[in-house]
């Protein structure tokens, strides 16, 4: 018996929950933010999230948990020379931002974060009472 087969996902992208009007005003306010690519894997033990944050060092990374919303923000620092004159750019913004809504099944107090080679790995365990368990049947 597992608890992760239900229709409701334990990790949701918050972006889908805001209305279009709000989204537009947000877009205006955060016009130079990038949405980093992320992978979400859910197992019976919890969720693992990988987020591509190239150019973000440990010091410029900010992970914040507010009620059930997990916010990841990171500034890009390329240490470019002062007299650099750009000739071609795929990456225009200098800032990544992404939000995830965590289900109450996950224990947000025990998030484990690991940043390596520009990839952030977040491990969020399922809270004990939501972990699948075996129920022993006693013979009467």
């Amino acid at each position: 018996m597992t608890t992760n087969t239900g229709t409701e996902a334990a990790v949701k992208q918050s972006n889908n929950e805001v209305s279009t009007a709000q989204q537009e005003s947000n877009a205006r306010a955060q016009s130079l933010e990038l949405t980093p690519a992320a992978d979400i894997h859910e197992t019976k033990d919890g969720a693992v999230i990988y987020i591509d944050l190239p150019g973000v060092s440990k010091d410029s990374l900010d992970i914040n948990m507010d009620s059930d919303v997990l916010t990841i923000k990171g500034g890009v620092n390329l240490n470019t020379p002062d007299d650099l004159n750009p000739t071609y750019m795929d990456v225009h913004a200098g800032f990544y931002s992404r939000k995830f809504t965590l289900s109450s099944e996950l224990d947000s107090a025990k998030i484990d974060a690991n940043l390596k080679n520009g990839v952030l790995q977040l491990e969020i365990p399922r809270s004990e009472k939501h972990k699948p368990r075996k129920i022993e049947v006693k013979v009467a």
Binding site: E33, A37, H41, V56, Y88, M89, H92
Partner: protein, 141 residues
């Protein structure tokens, strides 16, 4: 069309026209997930050509960098994370082999190239040939 124009915008991390800003934000939001891997930023200084390749999730030893006839090529492979087969997965991040080639200006000296991989960004600096670098000429009295 607008996307193409923005790609060649000459300003690094600078503010944008008010009218374009929302449209730009929409483009960058979508594009960061759908664009080719790796993304590249390039620029020139008086003395060098600087190339930044956004290649997160690799080790420096897994990146293959070469210059041939003023074409700089970077290749490598991103592998899938080894995870529980029963996991529910949603994937946006690039997986597989990649190769990106950029044309360098004619006036560079490929023998003087430095490559540094830090925080998932490969920074390649190619020096310009000595004769094209600006130099101060002293005026004698």
């Amino acid at each position: 069309m607008i996307s193409n124009m923005l790609r060649f915008s000459p300003s690094f991390f600078e503010g944008f026209d008010e009218v374009l800003a929302p449209e730009f934000a929409r483009l960058t939001r979508e594009s960061s997930r759908t664009r080719a891997y790796p993304q590249v930023n390039m620029g020139v200084t008086d003395k060098s050509v600087e190339v930044y390749l956004f290649t997160p999730g690799l080790e420096a030893s897994e990146l293959d960098v070469s210059i041939e006839k003023n074409l700089l090529s970077v290749s490598g492979e991103r592998t899938k994370d080894d995870l529980d087969k029963n996991a529910i997965n949603r994937r946006e991040r690039f997986v597989g082999k990649f190769k990106r080639t950029v044309a360098l200006p004619e006036d560079v000296d490929p023998d003087q190239t430095e490559a540094v991989y830090r925080d998932g960004v490969l920074h390649i600096s190619v020096a310009k040939k000595a004769e094209v670098q600006p130099c101060q000429i002293e005026v004698k009295v």
